[in-house]
């Protein structure tokens, strides 16, 4: 098996894990200001309390894996997307400390301030992640020396901004479903009222996004024509997303959440299958694209990293599962809570 392909998959898995896990807590942040009252907001925060920083580690590890396996992609993307990434960092910092600081003091203004920081940080993070993804899908100008040849304003194209909004809608839906699963009583009744709307908004965005892809990304269309077996993956993804309202309607929030996760996984899989073997598509000059061969570390390093992953990933999955198990069930407020 080709190590380059394995690492393409592994990096993809890490970022998909990040989207599934941090996706719901960014979504909870997005919905945070819509719940009224201190009790509801504390329930929201504490529903993600024990797990949010573990979720963020998926981004750190994904970034580390990208750095190690495909240094040229890491260098080109991170230096090219300088301003959006700096804003993303600030947004992530704000929401992280807002979670930690918010409930430490009882004053209204203090809590409102951090509530806003938490919500704004979450929305901005989701938006920027989506915009960055949009540029990756559409392709950015890459120079023959592998450096980014575009501009910041060039990144703010309608397609990418729309994918940003779609990402916000996706995470909000995902977070809403998570909240419906983790809450009870009045808060749950409110959240359950939101979920169908959130699903509706996301599906509308998703349909428009796919149409925009046909317009803005002819290269994607070409690839799908050449690889028709991608279509079933997309189709199964759509079916699974369609399954979410059904599960919610039957009161099976956990199944709805799993469907949401699986839907995200299949969307990322479809993206990976279309994008392969590119890591950063060069538009307008596809010959300059960074791919899993011309941007990779040596096979030796990829092999060493594979050993690290084979030892590390099962451990990580095992205790991540344990921690979700320990904190299963409805969120309760205690003296230890945020």
């Amino acid at each position: 098996m080709d190590l380059h392909i394995i690492w393409f998959v592994l990096v993809g898995v890490l970022f998909t894990g990040y989207a599934m896990l941090d996706g719901f807590d960014l979504g909870v942040g997005t919905l945070h200001l819509f719940i009224k009252g201190d009790h509801g907001r504390r329930i929201f925060l504490n529903s993600i309390g024990p797990v949010w920083d573990g979720n963020e580690v998926w981004l750190v590890t994904g970034g580390g894996a990208l750095f190690a396996a495909f240094p040229d992609v890491y260098a080109t993307v991170f230096s090219g997307f300088y301003i959006p990434f700096m804003l993303l960092l600030v947004a992530l910092i704000f929401r992280a400390v807002a979670i930690e600081f918010r409930s430490k003091e009882p004053w209204g203004w203090w809590r409102t301030m951090w509530d806003i920081a938490f919500a704004a940080g979450s929305v901005l993070s989701a938006l920027l992640i989506g915009v960055a993804m949009g540029n990756v899908v559409m392709g950015v100008p890459v120079r023959p020396d592998k450096e980014f040849g575009g501009t910041f304003l060039g990144m703010l194209n309608p397609y990418s901004i729309f994918l940003g909004l779609t990402t916000v809608a996706l995470f909000a839906m995902h977070g809403g479903i998570y909240l419906a699963m983790k809450t009870e009583g009045e808060v749950q009744a409110t959240v359950r009222g939101w979920v169908p709307k959130l699903i509706g908004i996301f599906i509308a965005c998703y349909v428009c996004f796919n149409m925009l892809t046909l317009i803005y990304c002819p290269h994607v269309l070409e690839t799908v024509r050449a690889r028709p077996w991608i279509m079933p993956v997309v189709l199964v993804g759509v079916l699974i997303v369609m399954n979410i309202p059904r599960e919610i309607h039957k009161g099976r929030e956990f199944n709805a959440f799993l469907s949401s996760c699986a839907g995200m996984g299949l969307m990322m899989a479809a993206f990976g299958l279309t994008y392969f073997p590119n890591m950063l598509y060069s538009n307008p000059d596809p010959a300059n694209s960074l791919n899993i061969y011309n941007a990779a570390s040596t096979e030796k390093t990829l092999g060493i990293m594979l050993v690290i992953a084979i030892i590390g990933v099962p451990l990580v999955l095992a205790y991540t599962a344990c921690i979700y198990w320990v904190f299963r069930g409805k969120t309760q407020l205690t003296t230890h809570s945020y």
Binding site: Y74, V97, S297, Y319
Partner: protein, 504 residues
């Protein structure tokens, strides 16, 4: 201002700010293990209160540590893209290993540590505390390994590409501007990379420094309670844990510092000469205790101990320590300046020196503060032994407790100046004698972009720091919450207290 200065200042600022927090996490992590272990062993509710109080302080530092740590990982790519391309094959794997082995462990079990008091039994909770502590140390391992490789690269070769095929470059290849973006360092031997000549010494030095940060934080807050006459049983018990830990950590730090310095003598003689302000190579090299470097006149003003540096470096008072005027050596200059004549070498040397004044001063601040902390810790130990540590009846005793309150700043100052010594002392190199800092920048990032991000970080971090200090102060004023056999404690926890009562 140019991109290089701005990027360096931004990286230094964000790294220094970040580094206020991980040492506290590492040091407090050990304290938490001790306190909770004592609670499980003795069943004394006092230790339970201690563990819970310090866990909350830990949570505060950990959250900021995580948030500011992501910045560091991003900056390698955003600001130092050329560096990332050059070292990705080596540096990246250490970073990824840190994520997989350390951060997941730490953040996962932290959830149980913080929110699991009522959810899991005491043994599993204690296990989680140990894992968090372990994870915090593991993160230090990988990042120090990566940084040490930048100080003393090993287990690699340089390669370039010609017609799509990798070409191995000879050892000692001098990287020029034309090489950037194509030449990269490639791993030969993973373990040689991990155990490069300075990594283990520096790891010990970093970890003991972190222990000191945690220990003196506990000492400081306990001393404050003693002075205020509040939470006395809690303060005394915490103080004992803190002082014992501080003594152990400080003593170990002295030993590890000595070993780390000897490695610098061997591996980075230019850095050592700058740290000590040595210009002339003379037998029986003296050591300057403190002073001012007069770079222009190639001399240092300040009290000197004759021959001491030679003794510390070589264990031999007559063997000279190489001075800056003879460094770097001719062989190195011949490699990097093949066209230069030997007569010109003297003029070329200064370009390979780090900023001597800054290296010298930061190093001496570290030494002076570290030594003072050893004195404070030993004196506190002596007073504990004589039974006067907890008394506030005389002016001198109160004054000493105030010294202990302020002692929390000591390890922070020493840790920061230690890192400044290490990083400034490596200049002009980003990877020692391989790649220059000025060659490592992102080529597409402009000065205005970096200026913008720097202003952003300054504002955000100022706000963050203010909020952190404010909350920490409030937490300290609020103090631990007494909880013996309250309603909230699960049955399995209450049993520990009852078992102890039965034993007594």
């Amino acid at each position: 201002m140019d991109v290089e200065i701005l990027s360096r200042v931004q990286f230094a600022f964000t790294a220094a700010f970040h580094y206020l927090y991980p040492p506290l996490s590492i040091g407090l992590g050990v304290s938490l293990v001790v306190m909770e272990g004592m609670w499980l062993r003795t069943g004394n509710p006092l230790f339970h209160n201690m563990a819970r109080f310090w866990t909350r302080v830990f949570a505060l530092t950990f959250a900021i540590g995580v948030a500011t740590g992501i910045v560091m990982e991003f900056e390698f790519g955003t600001n130092w893209a050329t560096y990332s391309r050059f070292v990705g094959d080596i540096f990246g794997s250490a970073l990824a290993a840190e994520g997989i082995f350390a951060f997941f462990l730490e953040s996962g079990f932290l959830a149980v540590l913080l929110f699991g008091w009522n959810k899991v039994g005491p043994k599993l909770h204690f296990f989680s505390t140990c894992m968090v502590c372990f994870g915090a140390h593991f993160s230090a391992v990988w990042i120090v390994v990566a940084n040490s490789w930048m100080q003393t690269p090993a287990g690699y070769h340089l390669e370039t590409r010609a017609a799509g095929q990798p070409v191995v470059l000879p050892e000692g290849h001098a990287v020029t501007g034309a090489d950037l973006g194509t030449v990269r360092a490639v791993v030969d031997n993973f373990w040689e990379m991990v155990f490069n000549p300075s990594s283990m010494e520096r790891l010990a030095h970093v970890v003991f420094g972190a222990w000191m940060a945690g220990a003196f934080l506990v000492v400081s807050i306990s001393a404050f309670y003693l002075l205020r006459g509040r939470h006395l049983p809690f303060a005394k018990a915490s103080m004992k844990v803190g002082v014992a830990f501080a003594i152990v950590a400080t003593m170990l730090q002295m030993i590890s510092g000595d070993i780390a310095a000897r490695t610098v003598v061997e591996e980075q003689p230019i850095k050592l000469a700058a740290m000590e302000g040595v210009f002339e190579t003379t037998p029986g090299t003296p050591m300057t205790l403190f002073g001012w470097v007069d770079v222009k006149n190639r001399t240092v003003l300040g009290p000197q101990m004759p021959g001491l540096l030679s003794v510390l470096a070589w264990g031999d008072a007559s063997k000279p320590v190489q001075g800056l005027l003879d460094l770097p050596e001719d062989a190195f200059l011949a490699r990097w300046h093949p066209d230069a004549k030997e007569a010109d070498y003297a003029a070329l040397r200064e370009a390979y020196w780090p900023p001597v004044q800054a290296t010298f001063q930061f190093y001496h601040i570290m030494i002076i503060v570290g030594t003072a902390l050893l004195g404070v810790a030993l004196l506190a130990g002596l007073k504990w032994f004589r039974g006067t540590l907890f008394r506030t009846d005389t002016f001198l005793r109160r004054a000493f407790l105030w010294v202990l309150v302020l002692s929390v700043l000591g390890p922070q100052i020493a840790n920061q100046s230690g890192w400044f010594t290490a990083e400034i002392g490596r200049q002009p190199w980003i990877v020692y004698e391989l790649l220059k800092t000025s060659q490592a920048l992102s080529r597409v990032v402009t000065a205005n972009q970096v200026l913008l991000s720097m202003i952003l970080f300054l504002l955000v971090y100022a706000l963050l720091f203010a909020a952190f200090i404010f909350l920490l102060t409030r937490k300290i004023q609020h103090g631990p919450e007494p909880q013996d056999e309250s309603e909230e404690m699960p049955e399995s926890w209450k049993r520990i207290i009852r078992n102890r009562a039965a034993r007594a």
